[in-house]
Amino acid sequence: MDQIIREKIKLVKKGDQSAYEDVVSFFQNKIYQHCFRMLGNAHEAEDIAQEAFIRAYVNIHSFDDKRKFSTWLYRIATNLTIDRIRKRKPDYYLDAEVKGTDGLDMYSQLASKDRLPGEEVESIELQRYIHQEISGLPPKYRSIIMLRYLEEFSLQEISDILDIPLGTVKTRIHRGREALRKRLRHV
């Protein structure tokens, strides 16, 4: 898949806009999900995820072909989400964090998918609970936990994406795991 993406990016750099459609299509769920977990609501997640893809397209010539495109794309998306969190007005921040808002968004997301048989609904509730606990971590731990365990990046790649030293990544992932251990211990 990496190779296919690499070829598509070459075409995009030559000015072939339609090649970018495949790139967006391939990464849309990953990037949207990343933004959703960072921001906690569907509206902002869609806004920021779109913005990330548009910025990546506009700045495609500054992307170094020798590097991984996904790393670069996540970097843009993560920076945009952190920027958005910083710019939130205090009252908006409270609104977004009100309990139930997330669940409602999540619910409408799920409702559109195929309904699963009764047995698996329980596990969906658990999955949602875990998602909420991850979302409840402070952003600097949350982003690393997500990149490591949900997007499967290496610690070195996370250091590149977030532009922070590897040592800092390790300290934060350590703290993030401890925080989640306490939250998920009783599950």
Partner: protein, 210 residues
């Protein structure tokens, strides 16, 4: 070993794949004796398993379309070029129609005057040029916008543009044969199509060059 400081530190190093052999032994020995750390280690590993099973969220419908619509317009040249490459047959047809519409045919037809390269000893009847019996044309003969009947001889190449070589049959003798002869190459050019083909090839070369 201090549980909270050293042992937990080693657990996290283990989870990041950073544990050295001696450290691994150190951690294992401690875990064998310390129930609290066993629980802690178990909880950490389970936490990671749980994180992996966090709910998967899909992008909203039409996400890709919406992104594509918001991109700045690409250079027109690239868009046309890609379309042409994707639809070569449609492109040829489109070019053909463009020529038709732009009046190539009528333009060509306006230039329909009969032209003959040499006229001495030749008979011209309407739009037909006749090389009469017993006449020998020395050298090449070109006829444009007219037909040619060769009853005599042409000592050279014959080029017909927008015209045909008519073979006059000598019916009285019951023969179907051309009576004259061309001692050279006969070339017929239906020039409108030739020209369109030439122009089309030219355009294709232009499209695929960049």
């Amino acid at each position: 070993m201090n549980c909270n400081k050293e042992a937990v530190e080693l657990m996290h190093k283990y989870l990041d794949g950073d544990l050295s052999k001696p450290e691994e032994t150190e951690l294992r020995v401690h875990l064998e004796d310390c129930e609290a750390c066993q629980t802690h280690f178990h909880e950490l590993k389970r936490t990671i398993t749980l994180i992996h099973s966090a709910e998967q969220i899909s992008a909203p419908k039409n996400f890709t379309e919406n992104v594509m619509q918001q991109l700045p317009a690409e250079k027109k040249r690239m868009r046309y070029s890609r379309w042409f490459k994707a639809h070569p047959i449609l492109t040829a047809a489109a070019i053909f129609f463009v020529f038709m519409i732009s009046g190539v045919f009528s333009a060509w037809n306006q230039d329909s005057e009969l032209v003959v390269s040499k006229q001495e000893d030749l008979i011209i009847q309407g739009d037909t040029v006749i090389v009469p019996e017993g006449v020998t044309v020395e050298g090449d003969l070109l006829v444009k916008n007219g037909n040619l009947i060769v009853n005599g001889t042409v000592d050279g190449n014959v080029t017909l543009i927008n015209g045909k070589l008519l073979e006059e049959s000598i019916e009285s003798e019951g023969l179907m044969a051309s009576v004259g002869e061309v001692n050279g190459e006969l070339k017929m050019v239906d020039q409108v199509f030739e020209w369109i083909w030439y122009k089309t090839k030219d355009l294709f070369k232009g499209i695929f060059a960049f």
